[in-house]
């Protein structure tokens, strides 16, 4: 394994930017292995990575930042998403979280509400632990879907073309 993992922050940022593109171009439903269907949507926080060391990081909060002129301008300028607040749902359960693409850490996670039939703190703890594991696995699977496209030579053809057009006309 290489020792240059610190240089790969761009890959997580490209993943978040692609996720946004994928949601707007084909909807936010994803099929995961085993036929599991999950739904993803952007929430009220976006943070764009600087293009270089002299550039500034741009954060947009509240409302629908993905629809704002500032977000469109950032995309036109070729900025990648560094962080995004997402809503992720699988059947009736829902998480809210901020994904930091540069480190692939998951921040400000809000778990689904505890099931009503849990009788004691130990049971609640087990369920919450399971939900933390589940959201980490879901984000990992979404990242894998992206990587399976990204890590192919042909990615730079049709996929890039579609995303470039989306970014320039957002």
């Amino acid at each position: 394994m290489s020792d240059h993992s610190a240089d790969y922050g761009f890959l997580g940022e490209e993943f978040l930017t692609w996720l946004w593109y994928r949601m707007e171009s084909r909807g936010g439903e994803f099929e995961l292995p085993g036929g599991r269907m999950i739904a993803v949507s952007m929430d009220d926080y976006l943070c764009f990575a600087p293009r270089d060391d002299d550039d500034t990081e741009h954060s947009l909060r509240r409302g629908i930042p993905s629809r704002s002129p500032e977000a469109s301008a950032a995309l036109h300028n070729g900025r990648r998403l560094r962080k995004a607040k997402l809503i992720v749902a699988e059947s009736s359960i829902e998480w809210s979280l901020i994904v930091d693409g540069s480190s692939m850490t998951l921040g400000s996670i809000k778990l689904p509400s505890d099931s009503e039939d849990l009788e004691n703190p130990e049971e609640r703890s087990r369920e919450r632990a399971g939900n933390f594991l589940l959201i980490q696995e879901i984000i990992g699977q979404l990242y894998k879907i992206y990587l399976e496209k990204r890590l192919r030579p042909e990615y730079l053809g049709k996929e890039v073309e579609g995303q470039a057009q989306w970014m320039s006309t957002h």
Binding site: L75, I109, R128, A129, G130, F132, L147, L151, A164
Partner: protein
């Protein structure tokens, strides 16, 4: 009990770990158990393992850690510091009594004196850091976002089990997702796509990628197609 919100950093461990159901696993935790500094008379930090069932670190029972899908590890960090406000109050009083500013040596002596008087009476700050250990995935979810705390945890984990934790960053996560051989090889040479310096309506793209990338000219043509 696990909270219903929080931040998570993923780590993977390299090397082997004792079977969690073997006594050697609990023995390793016991050897690095948390030790109290409640009555300590010096400024110090204590870091060690406790369990959700016993925050003192006196006992380690597997049933306190077993969450079915994984195991609940808990690091306790206590830190005892001389309150800066108290230091200021005592220094002001000493300067008033002396009728002049204290010298550097006098300030040091005063701090030493205050530490021996006040620290035994000062309670340390306490932080409990949770982690979810899933041996089957060779993975740990650490519920901490501060880099200092993450470093403390990795250090404690290493001194306990002799196993290094590897951050689940974009590269390390990608390398553990079970990608195909071709994609794993490409991971080693992938470089960023430079997205367009495009204005609204423009379709110009500027792509700089690996040796396998198409040229900028070709990419522009593709985007304009």
């Amino acid at each position: 009990m696990f909270r219903c919100s929080g931040s998570v950093a993923t780590y993977f461990f390299a090397g082997s770990m004792p079977d969690v159901k073997a006594e050697s696993f609990l023995d390793a935790l016991r050897a690095k158990r948390f030790r109290s500094i409640e009555h300590s008379a010096s400024e110090e930090t204590s870091v060690g393992w406790v369990t959700a069932g016993d925050p003192s670190g006196d006992s380690f029972e597997l049933e306190d850690m077993d969450l079915d899908l994984g195991y609940h590890l808990r690091m306790r960090v206590d830190k005892k510091t001389l309150p800066a406000v108290w230091m200021g109050i005592y220094r002001s009083a000493a300067e008033k009594s002396a009728g002049r500013k204290l010298s550097l040596q006098e300030k040091r002596d005063l701090k030493q004196d205050l530490m021996s008087k006040l620290l035994p009476k000062t309670l340390p700050s306490v932080r409990l850091i949770d982690a979810l250990y899933t041996p089957s995935r060779k993975q740990i979810l650490l519920f901490a976002s501060a880099s200092g705390v993450q470093e403390q945890f990795c250090k404690l984990f290493f001194t306990t089990f002799g196993s290094n934790l590897i951050a689940g960053d974009p590269y390390n996560l990608a390398a553990r997702l079970g990608l195909g051989r071709e994609q794993s090889a490409y991971l080693e040479q992938v470089s960023p796509v430079t997205w367009p310096q495009a204005k609204r309506g423009s379709r110009q793209v500027d792509i700089a990628d690996s040796p396998q990338s198409m040229s900028q000219e070709t990419a522009t043509e593709a985007a304009e197609a």
